[in-house]
């Protein structure tokens, strides 16, 4: 197969070869059920224990604080529904830029009688002190703020917000503070002990964003937090998550976690250098780069060109051999712009043009150069077409055709993963 250059690492990452190597024996050879008492089962249990230690070590947590789940979405659902299920109805505060797997459970709570308070962000995608203080005055029972945003890559100072929250909220109110760290893990240093001391009670992690397999994630949880399980039956994971453990994926997660935090600084420096190169080129081409002035994940660049549809652009880039993501949801004929950009106050017309490049350590500066050349060419073609007599009769791109083919499916995935 002709392999396009992969610039979509915030959606998912390729598996690190050592991760695959670690996983394979647990499919066909060491296939025991970790709940079985015989040697096959005990071998599986030991493998899970080791992975738990690896994940814990990678985020500065204790192994007993790690609850394995089927992924980040489940971990977010588990915390939000698990905590609120045991509390009287009150206020839940989440940032306006959360991933749907935080937003949707929160909306579900709102339908069940909770009050949903969204924390506003400024044009740089950062939560503001003014609004946060106002929100705290409403005594939220649960606060959820993502560490790094999946679209812009912008990093929130969650430790600062947690300190402020634990300092302000009444002692009697049990305000639990949750951080979705799915995109941040493996890209910026993460220390649960430090965050926990600041007042963060739980972290969500995912394996497939850090070179691990899809199908594994974790909730790192302060043991003082009482939680109702999302999935009952059998009492696995301290009774908080039942179901036969996905041994191979958990083993892969453990190794991936260990690898992700190894030489993290070196990798971040290399990614930053590539992104600087990319963004210099983008600026020369006239791109508007979102949140360029604030601290972001080193691998993420989110930009738009005026009067240029994002879908069209990514479709063309795909055909030219570059896999990137568009910022607009593609589940409707009239793509709605990203809720993140709208929350930042970006005009909908510009937001419709959003394109996300998320780099990985396997990418090279050479690929970035090639990408810029292709982009320049594509932009000039699209400009020409726009000014040609045919006007807007741009033929449909492969990507658009695919997207339209999906239209009949109800409730389609309407987000940047």
């Amino acid at each position: 197969m002709f392999a396009p250059v992969y610039f979509d690492h915030n959606a998912t990452t390729p598996l690190a070869p050592r991760v695959l190597e670690a996983m394979l024996p647990y499919l066909t050879q060491q296939y025991g059920n970790a709940s079985s008492r015989h040697e096959y089962g005990r071998a599986a249990r030991r493998a899970i224990d080791e992975a738990r230690q690896q994940v814990a070590a990678a985020v500065g947590a204790h192994p007993t604080e790690v609850i394995f789940t089927s992924g980040g979405s489940e971990a977010n659902n588990l915390f939000i529904k698990g905590v609120t299920g045991l509390l009287p109805k009150g206020v839940i505060a989440i940032s306006a830029i959360e991933h749907p797997c935080v937003r949707e459970p929160a909306k579900q709570l709102a339908r069940a009688g909770w009050r949903l308070r969204e924390l506003a962000v400024n044009a740089d995608c950062r939560i503001t002190s003014t609004d946060f203080s106002v929100a705290l005055a409403e005594q939220p029972a649960l606060i959820s703020i993502m560490l790094a945003n999946n679209e812009t890559g912008v990093i929130q100072d969650v430790a600062q917000w947690a300190v402020q929250a634990s300092g302000t909220l009444k002692k009697s109110a049990s305000a639990w503070f949750h951080v979705d760290a799915v995109q941040a893990f493996g890209r910026v240093p993460l220390d649960f002990r430090m965050l926990n001391a600041a007042g963060v009670h739980a972290l969500t992690l995912s394996a497939h964003k850090i070179g691990g397999p899809k199908g594994a994630g974790a909730l790192v949880l302060d043991k003082r937090v009482a939680l109702q399980p999302l999935i009952a039956g059998g009492g696995h994971e301290r009774g908080l998550r039942s179901g036969t453990e996905n041994v191979a994926a958990i083993v892969g997660f453990g190794v991936a976690a260990e690898l992700a935090v190894t030489d993290l600084q070196t990798k971040a420096t290399a990614l930053s250098a590539m992104r600087r190169l990319l963004e210099e080129g983008l600026s020369q081409l006239g791109a508007y780069i979102f949140a360029a002035q604030v601290e972001r994940l080193p691998n993420t660049s989110y930009f738009a060109f005026a009067d240029m549809d994002g879908e069209t652009l990514v479709g063309r880039l795909d055909r030219a051999g570059f896999a990137v993501a568009a910022g607009a949801a593609c589940s409707s004929a009239n793509p709605s712009p990203s809720h993140v950009l709208l929350a930042m106050g970006i005009a909908p017309e510009l937001a419709r043009g959003a394109v996300r490049v998320s780099l990985g350590v396997q990418n090279t500066q050479h690929q970035v150069h090639d990408f810029l050349a292709v982009l320049k060419q594509t932009l000039s073609e699209l400009q020409k077409m726009k000014h040609s007599p045919q006007g807007n009769t741009e033929f449909i791109t492969t990507a658009q055709a695919r997207m339209q083919a999906h239209l009949p499916r109800d409730n389609d995935v309407a987000t940047l993963n």
Binding site: A11, P100, G233
Partner: protein, 403 residues
């Protein structure tokens, strides 16, 4: 011969090497997120996911559109029972019917609903592990919203009469959920004819990988559920979360192989199981648990009387099996399934579940027969209870001194 011999195929199965081979490319070069809509990495992953959905549907006579991916049968059971109970509570009622010998994934879910204000009726099966359509019909009430009965019991392998139970549910307007985790590849399932509304599946009991399962959600007549995991709206909005392509591909291939090979395979395994049972028949005081006819071909569950459960497990370390003894779970209770059948604590404790599978050989079975003869003989030689039994003393009449 590699020891211990694996005879615990109902706990989990190895991934068939042919399945593993199909999975690996989706871990390596084809690593895209099936939800990525803007590039080929995403499209090819999505295509693979849809192919697998077809394969899962084909094994059970369903339409691919009726299949929802989950992380496993436990999640499927939770989604089916809680999802339907919550969605229909206000229109149908708040009563649930299930069976005392169901898997914990069903029982614990029903208990959770009871805490939320639902009422539940637990049917106690007959001594052979089966429930009758009459028992079932009697348990249903006008306000029954969901009934959940497993197709095949995980401990004793008995097959419940789900076709008849389905007819009763359809007639009475009760949503019928069936946990089929232990049934796929062991018996034919045809959802075209069965009046089942929701059915749970697991990959890792049928030579696929752990961490993936599916829920069949009937569309005609349409069954609606309240989602348990919210987010990006994957899987018709019923189950959000990035799809694990390699695992789904593995489940599809495992179910495809099951469809093609199950008839021949089950015949071979049944002969091995019968050979095992025959090999045990000259051991005195053994009891087969569960009906021997209405039963999947790979399961044999036997209680060895006058043998202490824990010692038995220690003595037969060269085979990997499950036991009804306390040691298989965190609790000290012996198997609740065997207790529900009316077995005494002693017989429940000394029960062994042998589950055979695709890679079990005749030699494995013969080794097991020999091992059990030898070890049961030895344990009974040391047992004062066995001596008393041989002397004709009825142990139930003995007054034990308290300490």
């Amino acid at each position: 011969m590699k020891l211990p011999i694996y005879l615990d195929y109902s706990a989990t199965t190895p991934v068939d090497p042919r399945v593993a081979e199909k999975m690996i490319p989706w871990l390596t070069e084809h690593f895209g997120n099936p939800a990525s809509r803007s590039h080929a990495y995403g499209w090819e992953a999505e295509h693979a996911v849809e192919n697998a959905r077809e394969e899962v549907a084909k094994l059970v006579g369903a339409d691919a559109k009726d299949i929802i991916w989950t992380s496993g049968a436990t999640e499927s059971n939770n989604l089916a029972i809680k999802g339907a109970a919550h969605f229909y509570a206000s229109t149908k009622g708040k009563h649930i019917v299930t069976v005392t010998t169901e898997h914990k994934a069903v029982l614990d879910t029903v208990k959770e609903l009871e805490r939320q204000g639902f009422e539940a009726t637990y049917i106690v099966p007959q001594e052979n592990g089966l429930i009758t359509p009459e028992q079932f019909a009697a348990a249903l009430r006008p306000d029954t919203v969901v009934a959940s009965v497993m197709a095949v019991n995980n401990e004793i392998g008995v097959i419940q009469p789900i076709a008849e139970l389905g007819e009763i549910c359809r007639e009475k307007g009760v949503i019928f959920h069936v946990d089929a985790a232990q049934a796929t590849g062991k018996m034919p399932i045809d959802l075209n004819t069965l009046k089942v509304d929701l059915m749970s599946f697991s990959a890792h009991k049928t030579y696929g990988p752990k961490g993936v399962g599916a829920l069949y959600v009937r569309r005609k007549p349409r069954i609606r559920l309240e989602a348990q995991m919210h987010g990006g709206g994957h899987e018709r909005g019923l189950r959000s979360g990035t799809l694990a392509t390699h695992q789904i591909v593995g489940m599809g291939e495992a179910f495809r192989l099951a469809r093609i090979e199950m008839t021949a395979e089950n015949e071979r395994i049944r002969m091995l199981r019968d050979r095992l049972l025959k090999g045990f028949q000259d051991i005195e005081e053994i009891y087969v648990n569960g009906d021997i006819t209405e039963r999947v071909p790979h399961n044999l569950n036997v209680s060895f009387n006058y043998v202490e459960g824990e010692s038995l497990i220690m003595a037969i370390k060269d085979i990997a099996v499950s036991s009804g003894s306390a040691c298989t779970s965190a609790s000290l209770e012996p198997s609740y399934v065997l207790r529900a059948l009316g077995r005494s604590d002693e017989l429940a404790h000394s029960s062994i579940r042998f589950t055979l599978g695709r890679f079990t050989t005749e030699q494995d079975v013969d080794f097991t027969i020999k091992l059990l003869h030898e070890k049961i003989g030895k344990l009974r030689e040391l047992s004062p209870l066995w001596d008393m039994f041989k002397e004709g003393i009825d142990l139930n009449t003995v007054q034990w001194a308290a300490h």
